[in-house]
Symmetry: C2
Subunit: 252 residues, 2 copies
């Protein structure tokens, strides 16, 4: 029997937002590999082997998956959201590029999922309706000045900005520093959305302005969206809101 690797996007949380393709691959797997809370989301029979690991062990996890596949196992590497967005797919190819040349012949399939930013956007309306970008605030793998440079470039050019990995115990100050830098470039009334655990039981949604945005509105499971010049809220009669970005930009 020849093994293979599926790198699977589980979507934001609710199983109803998982693709049929992802569910089918999970049903075939002999082994699940991933960060413990994501592996815990997957229901399987008792014969499936679960290899759980800590949050920052991506390369070890990728190597384990490739070794298992080489030995004939059918391995599902699971990520929340989409596996290609600040998740496991890159780590798998990094391991392949630098690892055993035989891995280049392995059957590796990336199964896309509904990303955190698109789930967060859909939850409140259509704030990604214009040009947008996604930036990880983690400086574990890139220098902080690069993060700031990209924030500035994106904000100055009018992109809506999705911030991934906004805050954690090990990285407590980066989100505050990002807001500070953005406040120097953008008007204080610019909308900022904090979408936490979207589609899960403990989902929290908070809309504020850039002037009022505070890092403690976010935790590890929060996607932060900073609006662009065309992003605005529509008030609803029940007191709730929709947030969207207009498609049109007029000439200045």
């Amino acid at each position: 029997m020849s093994g293979r690797v599926f790198v699977i996007g589980l979507g934001p949380g609710d199983e109803a937002m998982r693709t049929a393709q992802a569910s089918d691959a999970l049903a075939q797997a002999t082994d699940l590999v991933g960060y413990a809370p994501y592996v815990a989301r997957v229901r399987t029979g008792p014969e499936v082997v679960r290899h759980v690991s800590d949050n920052r062990a991506e390369l070890d996890r990728a190597t384990l998956a490739l070794n298992l596949a080489e030995s004939g196992r059918i391995v599902a590497v699971v990520s929340a959201g989409d596996p290609g967005v600040f998740a496991m797919a890159s780590a798998v190819f990094e391991a392949i590029e630098t690892g055993d040349p035989a891995w280049r012949a392995l059957d590796v399939s990336i199964l896309p999922g509904v990303s955190a930013m698109m789930a967060a956007a859909a939850r409140v309306g259509a704030p990604l309706g214009g040009d947008f970008c996604a930036i990880s605030l983690s400086d574990n793998l890139k220098p902080w000045p690069v993060v700031l440079q990209r924030l500035e470039a994106a904000a100055s050019a009018g992109f809506v900005v999705a911030l991934y990995n906004p805050i954690s115990q090990a990285r407590p100050w980066q989100l505050g520093a990002a807001f500070e830098r953005l406040r120097a470039l953008l008007p204080p009334e610019r909308p900022v959305l904090f979408a936490t655990a979207v589609s899960r039981a403990d989902e929290r949604i908070r809309l504020c302005t850039l002037g009022d945005a505070k890092p403690d509105f976010a935790d590890m499971r929060t996607l932060v969206l900073v609006g662009g010049p065309g992003t605005r809220a529509i008030a609803r009669p029940d007191g709730s809101f929709w947030l969207y970005t207009a498609r049109s930009i007029s000439a200045e």
Copy 2:
């Protein structure tokens, strides 16, 4: 009976990449509204009313959907990919913002989908593995100088760039102009991916360098990805390749 609007992401093409939630909403709909080729992808019973329209009639389409919902119909507005990314969700909120105030009380749900850029990325590896942005090359709703300014900002700051709406009969020169501008900023060996009709029967994938990229490698159904500084190909023994963006950026 009270009506409602679902704005649904069908995903890139293959039904296996549709979410369960999207399929459930389609099964409830009394009316389908959308651009003809997307409506054609949805299988329904004969009692479902199909309202097809031309590509650029987004606001008329949104208004029709809201009127139908107000009259008690269950309306599925369908988009390819994710409905919040250069698709119908923004147009629906634009219609609500400027239209009948009663529409603000309507039940409107946005159901996210696997976006074209994530499907294209998954098909070849993980080229969106670093910070990235999405830019529509259409200048129907924004001035061309804004497009160029955003391209320059994104390329200069090291983002991977996904180009939506790269070319059409009505917009034949924009993609060539975009490549020309990018060639002035980026090294000619930077990888460029053309992913057309991903997951459909006539899928085409082409990898080249920025130096060699030509507009006629794309059509209306192509997602163009311009790599960042960490984007590179891995050759496979069968002559195919994987394309991915490394997670790490070293300090300069």
